[in-house]
């Protein structure tokens, strides 16, 4: 069983807990393959999606996962909430708790917000992405997908390409894949890869070709347009020329390499359409697996004694 009532980050999870979530996810994936995709497991519970940052994919995935478990779901998003009236974060969260929520799924642009709420609230807080800190369920669904495709994670050569510095997806994946025994490489310009990560025993490549050689798994990150003009790289065109994934570059990796992307993709910038839609891509399977993993997380957290 899990030890904490909250899922704040991969940092806070043990290897056993990660494996438990992945194993449980497999069961829920079976459920999703059935004709009737809903189970009564958490009937009577209430889930609140508290999203302080725009999100369609993650929010929808959590919403659907919660509904498949038969919980009632409320979406509380910033433009329609009292947050615009100047209510403090804590007051908003306490209000949601007072309304009877059992799960609060939170996304916020500031790192540490789920941790702050977890300390102040009795309910289970699930981090759906906080600032540039973590996005644990994305890393769990990525690990689940790799395990499903490769049969294992330990010993695999896994490369993450792109804006590592600003990516909570990358951070969570780094913690999770390291805990699960993979060998990690980060690829991208020095402006987007914190040099401190070398201390964590990760190889850093600034040259895409060098970094791609013999990898088993390739994770592409979305390049944020707003990084342009801030000195991280001169233009998306130049970025694409140096770090975009093309078929030619992909041929440097192992033949059976899988290509992942957390979405949404910038086709033609970090990844070409031929690859995104091609046989090596598991991008849409990641989305499907996300549902199973989020169901597993909620199911397991419901079993934690508070």
């Amino acid at each position: 069983v899990l030890t904490n009532k909250d899922l704040l980050g991969i940092k806070e999870l043990s290897v056993e807990e990660i494996n438990l979530i992945l194993d449980t996810s497999a069961g829920f994936k079976d459920v999703l393959g059935r004709d009737i995709k809903k189970v009564p497991t958490l009937r009577g519970k209430t889930t609140v999606n508290l999203f302080f940052e725009p999100s369609t994919r993650t929010r929808t995935s959590f919403e659907l996962a919660a509904k498949r478990l038969s919980t009632d779901v409320i979406n509380f998003s910033v433009p329609t909430s009292s947050v615009v009236k100047g209510e403090s974060l804590i007051d908003t969260a306490l209000t949601v708790q007072a309304l009877g929520a059992d799960f609060i799924i939170i996304r916020h642009s500031s790192s540490g917000v789920p941790h702050l709420l977890a300390k102040k609230l009795r309910v289970s807080v699930i981090n759906a992405g906080d600032g540039t800190n973590e996005h644990p369920t994305q890393a769990l669904l990525d690990a689940f997908t790799i395990r499903e495709k490769k049969g294992k994670i330990e010993g695999l050569e896994i490369a993450i390409v792109g804006d590592i510095a600003h990516s909570r997806v990358a951070k969570s994946n780094i913690y999770s894949l390291k805990k699960l025994g993979a060998r990690l490489r980060l690829i991208g310009p020095p402006t987007l890869i914190p040099k401190e990560m070398e201390v964590m025993g990760i190889d850093i490549f600034h040259n895409m070709e060098d970094g791609l050689r013999d990898v088993d798994v390739l994770m592409m990150l979305r390049i944020q347009m707003e990084r342009q003009g801030k000195g991280f790289f001169p233009s998306t065109e130049e970025y694409s020329r140096n770090w975009g994934l093309t078929l030619e570059r992909l041929s440097l990796a192992k033949d059976e390499v899988i290509v992942m992307h957390p979405g949404p993709m910038n086709r033609g910038i970090e990844i070409t359409s031929e690859i995104a839609d091609g046989p090596r891509s598991v991008i849409l399977e990641q989305v499907t697996n996300g549902l199973a993993v989020r169901m597993a997380v909620m199911y397991l957290l419901a079993g934690v004694k508070k």
Binding site: K11, S88, L89, I90, H108, S109, S110, S111, G112, V113, H115, L116, D130, G131, T132, N133, E134, A165, R168, K171, P194, E196, M197, V199, M200
Partner: protein, 434 residues
């Protein structure tokens, strides 16, 4: 009524006193010092006389220090009375053993003109528990563009100038400030931070900031400005005082500058030699401070700087905030630590560790601030104001912010067990016991 402090271990480096004795206070002034040396018995009769018409304070086993001087506090008044007032802030000072505090200019309105200075001085005279000496802004509105009326503010009572958390980025204006202030022999206090390099930062840059996903402030953001200001002090001959030194690099730059004879002094704060960036773990906004908490290596360098004199002063940078402001997203919470009530205990650890002697601690917390600000304080010479802190260096206690008298309960030292605290403070003729 006179006050007679008996049997205390008196420390007065200016008079080279470091021994047990008695101090007689009359009308808020030092009337007489009677040291327990060879001639003590001879004065038996006189002491008996003093005892008969004095309030007697038994300081046996305690240190009697000149009242501490904190040259860097934020009293928040006028403008932010919900965070702290002159009344509550000076009460916290007294509790911490401080009898003089210098308040920074970032009030609302900014202390950039004589009327604000006059307000602070008047309010402090009416409600302040200890002496309050205002630090004026270098530039109008702390905007870094035009010099404020430095001379006029000095006439009203300002003793130094600083734009504090809004460092003067324009090197020409900083040069002018260092030049112009020479007229009045006052220091320009620099909060050294290259704002372009620290932009978006909320903690020290390093593995920890990467791991927590928080914006980093590199040590270089401080050091670049330390070096710039040292060069400008060298160019102009103006008096530069570097506020809250937090990095190894800054200590080295200041030490080298002093060797070259540059007119520079420097302070650090207890949190920069007591805790590292580790305190931010778990996103504790009470550990959010600017400059940020650094690393073990920096702590070591700051201690060495205190030991060898590269750093002259221990100040608190007492920065009280309302609890609601700290109970926010880490990014949005304000920078600052409420420091007046823990400073002495944390600094006494340096004595315990053998980094400073008790005499040197008094230099860092009393004499050097007095010297830098030309205050003529910090001694028990007959006729001097009786600003006194009686300290029990063995008293252990647990830090409980709810018991702070400051309005600011924001401390990263919550729950720490500290040793050594102020037992009693005498200021402006009044005795405060804790």
């Amino acid at each position: 009524m006179n006050i007679l402090i008996k049997n205390g271990h008196i420390i007065d480096p200016l008079q080279r006193i470091d021994r047990v004795g008695d101090i007689l206070i009359k009308d808020g002034k030092i009337k007489e010092l009677i040291m327990q040396d060879a001639g003590y018995k001879m004065q038996d009769r006189k002491i008996k006389d003093h005892e008969s018409d004095s309030r007697i304070i038994d300081a046996k086993g305690l240190y009697v220090l000149p009242g501490l001087i904190d040259m860097h506090v934020h009293l928040r008044e006028p403008g932010f009375e919900y965070k702290e007032t002159i009344k509550t802030g000076t009460r916290a000072a007294i509790k911490g053993g401080f009898t003089t505090v210098c308040c920074m200019s970032n009030t609302y309105p900014v202390n950039d003109n004589a009327s604000v200075t006059e307000f602070i001085i008047r309010k402090a005279a009416q409600e302040g528990y200890c002496t309050v000496l205002p630090i004026g802004a270098i530039t109008k509105g702390q905007k870094g563009k035009e010099l404020a009326e430095i001379g006029t503010m000095i006439n009203e009572g300002c003793i130094a100038f600083s734009d504090d958390g809004h460092p003067v980025m324009n090197s020409l204006i900083m040069r002018r400030a260092l030049e112009y202030s020479k007229t009045f022999d006052v220091p320009v206090i620099s909060h050294c931070e290259d704002l372009t390099l620290s932009e978006g930062g909320v903690m020290n840059e390093g593995l920890m900031s990467v791991t927590l996903g928080l914006g980093g402030i590199p040590a270089e953001a401080e050091q670049i400005m330390v070096f710039r200001d040292i060069l400008l002090a060298e160019l102009t001959g103006g008096r530069l005082h570097i506020a809250h030194v937090s990095t190894e690099g800054s200590v080295i730059l200041i030490r080298d500058a002093k060797k070259r004879g540059v007119n520079v002094t420097a302070e650090t704060c207890p949190h920069y030699f007591s805790i590292t960036e580790d305190a931010v773990k778990g996103f504790d906004s009470n550990a959010k401070v600017n400059p940020p908490l650094r690393t073990e290596r920096d702590i070591k360098a700051v201690k060495e700087g205190l030991r060898d004199g590269a750093i002259d002063v221990i100040a608190t940078d007492h920065a009280p905030h309302h609890r609601d402001e700290k109970l926010r997203e880490f990014d949005m919470a304000p920078f600052g630590i409420s420091g007046l009530e823990t400073a002495l205990s944390l600094s006494l650890r340096l004595v315990e560790e053998g980094i400073l002697t008790m005499n040197q601690l008094v230099e860092k917390m009393v004499l050097n601030p007095s010297r830098i600000l030309r205050l003529n304080k910090g001694t028990f010479k007959v006729g001097a104001n009786a600003d006194i802190a009686i300290v029990d260096i063995n008293k252990e206690y647990r830090v409980e912010s709810e018991r702070f008298v400051s309005k600011g309960k924001n401390t990263p030292f919550e729950g720490w067990v500290l040793k050594g605290m102020c037992f009693l403070t005498i200021c402006k003729g009044k005795v405060y016991e804790w």
